[in-house]
């Protein structure tokens, strides 16, 4: 176990050597005390790709110790921002060099179309790493005027320390990049637990990490079940901070474990049930494109999926007909083919999404398009649009995480806002309108961490992203992302005050 496995990409014939061990101290090693393995599956064919080592809580201990050692000796305050920047840029160069190969591996394990993986997932990831490489030598504190005769006061923005990072399966490489980049830029060391569903690209990227020249222990990668490795990280007494992206349910557990153990800092990017509002003045053709993207991109497996669509009554029939046409026009199939979307990632997700579709039907919503299972292999779900939905329905309240849209009607702006905000989530929101004042009013009123106006789903590495309400705590991306990995120390340096006694 822990030896690399050679995988062949059926569509291209490319052979990829994939490490299967746990990545600790720049080496791939077997588990210290467990024989568990994790099987990875190709969601387009339902066939097993390979198995990798499943890390145990003891392996997490070893990884944390390695990260701590690196933080105290070769990383943290022992390395200049300039050097961190240099290494990160090198990593980005290597990802660029290997983009095609990484894209094919991502598609094999996750199912998304290979050109999307290459141009968007990986393209954005490379830019994200370069973006944060640019911040590494620009971490500044403040000097604060107190009393010029006696004291200087200043803040230092220090790296928090050893960070546990737990990432999901919907954008494996992109989520990996969002996590490691700000942490490395600031000087933290990392124990990364990739999703047990999609660990392969994280392991392959660990090879590039070594090639880029990072010291051992700066990044450690431990594929493991969430309930095993993830839980161990959240509860670990020597982890200073945990960052988690995934379901709200698991996010709660992480935060509880953090509180119970050592009050480690917590940032969470959780679920969403994001509202997407179409006002009558909108450019309907464009709005339909964006609304389609909002629920169908990545086969709906997106935390910001615009899964509740609210259409103004005056344009309802016209718009929904347009949208249904667009949904039907999308080609969903094997990610190595010429398609816009692939299968959902696993049997578990497939069953889960279908159970929501069944619940929609049984709770009385009407199907506008989709809702029928495909025969044959592969976890394919065709775009499914429900109308005549009511706020109490499961398909309206709960995050489905698939290409399933609930569409409702509204008449006034206030009604739209009330409907939109009627959720415990607050991750994304979108609105389409040609009335500038309306755009401002509505974007101000929507309770979401990201509001798109006349757009949806498009993120930029320098613009912060995160949730309000139960969609999360903290922000990723932008300069804000650095704050999650920074610990402020205030220094009060007396050079002129003598203390009298008794005081």
């Amino acid at each position: 176990m822990a030896q690399p496995v050679e995988i062949t990409i059926p569509a291209t014939g490319r052979k990829i050597s994939v490490p299967t061990g746990l990545f600790i101290n720049n080496e791939f090693v077997p588990s210290v005390d467990s024989k568990d393995t994790i099987e990875t599956v190709n969601p387009a064919t339902e066939e097993v790709i390979c198995s990798v080592v499943g890390g145990s809580p003891t392996d997490i201990d070893v990884a944390v110790a390695a990260a701590r050692k690196a933080f105290n000796t070769t990383w943290g305050k022992n390395v200049t921002g300039f050097e961190r920047s240099r290494l990160m840029n090198k990593l980005a160069d290597l990802m660029e060099r290997d983009a095609e190969m990484l894209a094919e591996l991502e598609t094999l394990n996750n199912g998304k179309p290979v050109r999307v993986a290459r141009d968007f997932d990986i393209g954005d990831s490379i830019q994200c790493i370069r973006y944060y490489a640019g911040w590494a030598d620009k971490i500044t504190g403040q000097t604060i005027e107190v009393d010029n005769k006696t004291k200087v006061a200043f803040t230092r923005h220090e790296p928090i320390g050893v960070c546990g990072q737990i990432i999901p399966w919907n954008y494996p490489i992109n989520m990996w990049s969002w996590k490691i980049a700000p942490a490395l830029a600031v000087g933290c060391t990392i124990v990364m637990k990739p999703s047990e569903v999609t660990p392969l690209t994280a392991l392959k990227l660990s090879e590039l990490f070594v090639e880029a020249g990072f010291p051992p222990g700066v990044l450690n990668t431990i594929p493991s079940l969430g309930s095993v490795g993830g839980a161990a990280l959240a509860a670990h007494l020597d982890v200073d901070k945990v960052a988690f992206t995934g379901s709200t349910l698991t996010g709660r557990k992480i935060m509880e474990a953090a509180a119970k153990s050592n009050l480690k800092k917590v940032s969470l990017e959780l679920g969403g049930k994001s509202p997407h509002i179409i006002f009558e003045s909108a450019d309907l053709e464009q709005a339909a494109n964006w609304a389609g993207l909002g629920i169908l991109y990545n086969t709906g497996q997106d935390c910001t999926a615009g899964s509740r669509l609210f259409v103004q009554d005056t344009i309802f029939d016209k718009f929904t007909a347009l949208l249904a046409e667009k949904a039907r026009a999308l080609k969903i199939g094997d990610g190595f083919g010429d398609v816009s979307g692939g299968p959902v990632v696993s049997k578990t997700q497939y069953d889960r999404v279908w159970s929501y579709i069944e619940s929609g039907k049984s709770e009385g919503a009407k199907i506008l398009t989709g809702g029928e299972k495909r025969p044959g292999k592969g976890f394919y779900i065709d775009p499914t649009i429900f109308t005549d939905v009511k706020p109490h329905m499961k398909i309206v309240r709960e995050e489905i995480f698939g290409p399933v849209l609930a569409v409702a009607k509204f008449s006034t702006e206030d009604e739209a806002i009330t409907l939109a905000n009627n959720t415990s989530y607050g991750l994304g929101a979108g609105l389409h309108s040609n009335d500038a004042n309306q755009c401002m009013r509505v974007s101000s009123a929507l309770e979401a961490g990201t509001v798109w106006v006349n757009q949806y789903n498009m993120l930029n590495n320098n613009v912060p992203f995160g949730g309000k309400k139960q969609s999360g705590i903290g922000r990723e991306l932008g300069s804000y992302g650095l704050e999650e990995y920074t610990s402020i120390k205030a220094v009060h340096w007396n050079f002129g005050e003598k203390l009298d006694w008794p005081f």
Partner: protein
């Protein structure tokens, strides 16, 4: 058609060939000066001609400005995302790094600094500066400012547009990087005049700029005399900002010309007569080493040179003895000679000027404690020189010499404020250094010195992240760090009315 110059280096420390076009680099092409004139480039190690380069005129500046404006309006400015501007700057840094030795050799040939200093200090700093600013390109955000719910107010940092940049001969490549970095990161387009004494690395950089992928017209390099090209830039009605590094005398002219024409924004990095204060409790050995670096680095040709060395009476004798020994031990020679610390001064003009100051020191009654003479009989070499027993009114104490000439002044312990007064007694205010083990005294002194940079227990150490610039007649504005971005940005405030009626 301007010619391509090729130079073959065959030295103990570097062997290689450098080849580049000697024309004006305008709109992505190399062209002759509009009146066909050239400038001789002299090797200061032997006084001999290296090559001739095209000399620009005011007309050439017009052409360059037009190209820069067109690029700004179409292929640069905000038409290109910050991340893309950053990527091109990153690529430029990569290319410079690949040719590091060649650039260092050219710099040593042209300026006279040793290949070793050029390689380990100048080129490293230049690459680092470009990389640093490549990281800023997509991070110069404005603010959203809360006023009330009926208004959305925000600021944008917009690039100024076409900027003029005029750089000196003491750190040619590094000064080029300090100028290109923040201007390109913010989205400005550039018309830059290198020093007519040291144009070679700038010319070599033109091809690297092209290879990195910057669109034509974004960077224009126009060699020429200060009185022609520099003046034309300072007066140009379509250049909205000029950045100048050089002497205070010329800085004044630039600012006057800017005021007289279109009130273009002006930043200036000028001269200095920086004090280096060494208290009794300083670590003498370290203070000596830093003091040597402070005045003899780059042959004293540094704007921030610690040229007035104040030593407290308790350690004066011991300091002077060791400082003199160290200065005497500095190896002067051919820049390509292994182990050489100091090469020639950059030109005959500088040589004459420095010798003039040395003579004035002697004439005005200072003690010539070390050096004061030419080294060898070819090239512009001057031995490290130390004066003692000076008076504050002497020219060598008041005026910037810009050569390897240090003035060592004893100060008494009786009045702690007096040394501050003496240190601040200058029209300049670029830098200062303080040596003491007493951290309280170090901080208090640092805070009272009138200077843009104060070093505590070091001297002449720069980093791309830390701002640098002068107070008083040493300059206006700051380069390096995040601060430099402001030099190339216009802040626009946008007020969006959401409900206020009138």
């Amino acid at each position: 058609m301007p010619s391509v110059f090729t130079y073959k280096f065959d030295t103990p420390v570097y062997k290689g060939t450098s080849s580049f076009n000697t024309g004006l680099f305008i709109n992505g092409q190399f062209v002759d000066g509009s009146d066909g004139e050239t400038i001789d480039v002299i090797n200061p190690t032997n006084g001999k001609l290296v090559t001739k380069i095209s000399a620009g005129t005011a007309k050439d500046v017009d052409t360059a400005v037009a190209a820069a404006q067109k690029a700004f309006d179409t292929t640069w400015g905000l038409h290109v995302a910050g991340a893309v501007r950053g990527k091109l700057l990153g690529r430029l840094a990569d290319l410079m790094e690949e040719r590091a030795d060649e650039l260092a050799a050219l710099e040593a040939l042209d300026n006279g600094k040793t290949f070793s200093w050029a390689k380990t200090s100048d080129v490293v700093a230049s690459v680092g500066c470009i990389r640093y600013y490549s990281g800023w390109a997509d991070k110069h955000s404005g603010k959203v400012i809360e006023t009330s719910e009926d208004k959305l107010a925000y600021t944008r940092n917009e690039p100024i547009g076409v900027v003029g940049q005029i750089i000196p001969w003491n750190f040619p490549l590094m000064m080029l990087s300090w100028k290109l970095g923040p201007a390109l990161a913010t989205g400005c387009t550039i018309v830059l005049k290198p020093s007519e004494f040291t144009p070679l690395t700038a010319l070599r950089m033109c091809e690297l700029v092209q290879e990195a992928g910057f669109p034509a017209g974004v960077v224009n390099i126009v060699n020429g005399l200060g009185s022609a090209v520099g003046q034309a830039i300072a007066e140009h009605p379509h250049i909205e900002k000029v950045a100048f590094t050089g002497s205070t005398a010329v800085g004044r002219k630039i600012m006057e010309a800017a005021a007289r024409t279109n009130l273009k924004k002006v930043t200036l990095e000028l001269g200095g007569k920086s004090p280096n204060i060494i208290f009794d409790d300083a670590d003498i050995e370290k203070a000596v080493s830093w003091a040597v670096h402070g005045i003899f680095w780059n042959h004293g040709q540094a704007c921030c040179a610690g040229s007035r060395i104040f030593v407290q009476e308790g350690i004066y004798d011991e300091f002077l003895k060791r400082f003199t020994e160290k200065a005497r031990s500095l190896k002067i020679g051919d820049p390509f000679e292994p182990g050489a610390y100091q090469g020639p001064q950059v030109s005959q003009i500088q040589y004459d000027r420095i010798m003039g100051y040395i003579n004035s020191g002697v004439e005005q009654g200072a003690t010539l404690h070390l050096g004061g003479e030419r080294h060898g009989d070819e090239g512009f070499f001057i031995r490290p020189t130390i004066f003692t027993n000076t008076q504050p009114s002497m020219k060598i104490v008041q005026e910037e010499i810009f050569g390897p000439v240090g003035v060592v002044i004893k100060f008494s312990s009786s009045d702690p404020d007096d040394i501050i007064r003496q240190a601040n007694d200058t029209i300049y205010g670029l830098a200062a250094a303080v040596f003491t083990q007493d951290i309280n005294r170090a901080l208090e002194t640092a805070h009272k010195l009138h200077a843009g940079t104060v070093w505590i227990n070091s001297a002449n150490q720069l980093h791309p992240q830390i701002p640098f610039g002068g107070v008083k007649q040493s300059g206006i504005g700051r380069e390096l760090g995040e601060y430099a971005l402001a030099n190339y940005s216009n802040v626009k405030a946008v007020h969006v009315n959401l409900g206020h009626t009138i």
